[in-house]
Symmetry: C2
Subunit: 345 residues, 2 copies
């Protein structure tokens, strides 16, 4: 298993990607990593961070450019052809790497992957599938920001791809798919969701109808489908609220010594929620629908998060997620044309 | 001050609206209430719940129908012409009541108010302005679900109306307005937000640019503008996450006796956050842009929430929110036509 790691991507690059690489090499004996970035600098740091033991399982790939966080996504692909992101994508395109992992500029990773790798047959737009933790079970949110102005056919693709990913990588049998809307009845929603509802209801997926913001964390389905604008807002709002509630509680808990003592006794509970709800455990989001395996890690990724992102990449490759998507889309298109033929006859 | 209260609306009607009415009559000596609903039933309950002291400050208005929570919004206005919601709206339209308060079917309240009262001059669509608590300060989210498929001009109206409401009723000097999007730069967003950004940047408001889901609860602006679909999803997601985090913590805190004891000592902190973050304090959301004052209370409203919704209605009327909106829109249209004339000359 060969994976290209963007060592220059993320808020704590190159340190955290390199530490994550060392962790992953320790955990997965069959793993080979392309470490992509400013070769001189990253090689020196890699050796220093314990990489020496894995010298024969890595290859440094030089990239002379880095995509800054405020860059325009599509322009970055054209203007920074030697960026660490584009280099990683090209390693996948050339068949040298089985997958790529980057904690860099999300838009740039999406743009480079879509432009250089193209989408899978039957898929018109790629979508980011993010795993979101809840008390009961994690759910998959797709699209959480790859494709901003979506049409109903894109959402259908997300539903089919999300089901496959949930089943094959997250091991959910017969995953239930919900369409994010503003009421549970099929007539509730905007033009996009009303049209998408009809397509999802006819598709060969376990479609549970519309889900509301209320349901997301209280009665979670397995896969939540929405357009990239709404998904991105929901993802960031949810993170923001969770952080804000914990911060608010902490302020209240430090108001007097009695509360502080109580919080000290109960600290295990706070740590447990914090850990279980951490994005680190899920490592990264899969960009579903491109002809290659591409994992987008959190910008603030810790070494553990990078290591888990590499794990997700391995599983997506091992489980042949892309081949299954191609099969499923072919089956869907055949069923579609049979239906059309039948209705004409 | 005369207010029409939909006594049949909400999950705990008629009990909670009636108890809220008693509370408001106690708090505001100048208040007169039209109690709208199944006259025989509500009169009997009102007297029983302590209403007897206020017999000369209420009038029971009979409504033979109730809009069920699963009704179609627009159909409900046509088919249930004698619903408690429509009766309340008509009392405002006829000038008998200064404002109405309902915890009933939100869509039906919006539809009845828009159809029967019409929108204010210069305003093409009404929007729901919901006050959302954060640790630092509450912010206003508009539109949180009145108008699902919006265009950029609707968002401009929300920005202007939200600024006025924030200044006049929530007493925020020079409120800062943010446009909800998926990146802070003006070029980030979907077609709707990119177009709206240009309009908002030219309007006479304190426009702070795009805000992201991340910022909402961590660096809140005073007014957050978005279309009704996104606003409704954000509102419900935020409620759901906050509830889920508290529930998750509670489960962890009851895992062993030590944690339980700690939580008991620190219980004041939990209660404080719960109380400060409660929708009850804010009572209800104002439907901004209709020619009348209409407060939409939470479906699960407690008596306190109803009482606070009546307080909000009073303030909106006292502060002449609607006259100010008309003035501001007139000024905006004049500036617009001057600009157009200047650019033609």
């Amino acid at each position: 298993m060969k994976i290209a790691l963007d060592v220059m991507g993320g808020d704590f690059a190159p340190r955290n990607p390199l530490l994550g690489a060392v962790g992953a090499l320790q955990s997965y004996p069959d793993l080979f990593l392309f470490l992509v970035g400013d070769q001189e600098r990253i090689a020196e740091e890699f050796w220093r961070h314990g990489g020496r033991a894995f010298g024969d399982r890595v290859e440094f790939v030089h990239a002379s450019q880095v995509v800054p966080m405020d860059a325009q996504a599509i322009e970055s692909v054209r203007q920074k052809r030697d960026s660490s992101i584009s280099r990683c994508v090209r390693l996948v395109k050339e068949g040298k790497a089985d997958a790529l992992v980057s904690a860099g500029h999300t838009g740039a990773v999406v743009a480079a992957s879509t432009i250089l790798l193209r989408t899978l047959p039957g898929i018109s737009r790629a979508g980011i599938a993010t795993t979101i933790p809840t008390e009961q079970k994690p759910f998959l949110l797709i699209d959480s920001g790859a494709n901003i102005d979506s049409d109903p056919v894109h959402l259908l693709g997300y539903a089919i791809m999300g089901s496959i990913y949930s089943r094959e990588v997250l091991h959910v049998p017969n995953p239930r798919v919900g369409l994010l809307s503003i009421g549970t009845e099929d007539v509730k929603g905007n033009e996009l969701t009303k049209q998408a509802f009809k397509l999802l209801a006819q598709a060969k997926i376990n479609f549970g109808g519309n889900v509301e913001g209320h349901d997301l964390f209280e009665k979670p389905v397995d896969v939540v489908v929405c357009d990239g604008f709404v998904g991105n807002v929901v993802l960031k709002t949810a993170e923001s609220v969770a952080k804000a509630v914990m911060h608010w509680l902490r302020s209240e808990l430090t108001q007097n010594p009695l509360r502080m003592f109580g919080a000290y006794l109960a600290r295990g509970a706070f740590l447990s929620v914090k850990q279980k709800a951490s994005y680190e455990e899920y490592g990264g989001a899969l960009l579903l629908g491109v002809n290659g395996t591409c994992i987008i890690a959190h910008g603030a990724s810790t070494p553990k998060a990078i290591c888990n992102a590499i794990r997700i990449a391995r599983e997506a490759v091992t489980q042949n997620v892309n081949s299954r998507i191609i099969q499923e889309m072919r089956r869907h298109c055949e069923a579609e044309s049979e239906n059309t033929a039948a209705s004409r006859a």
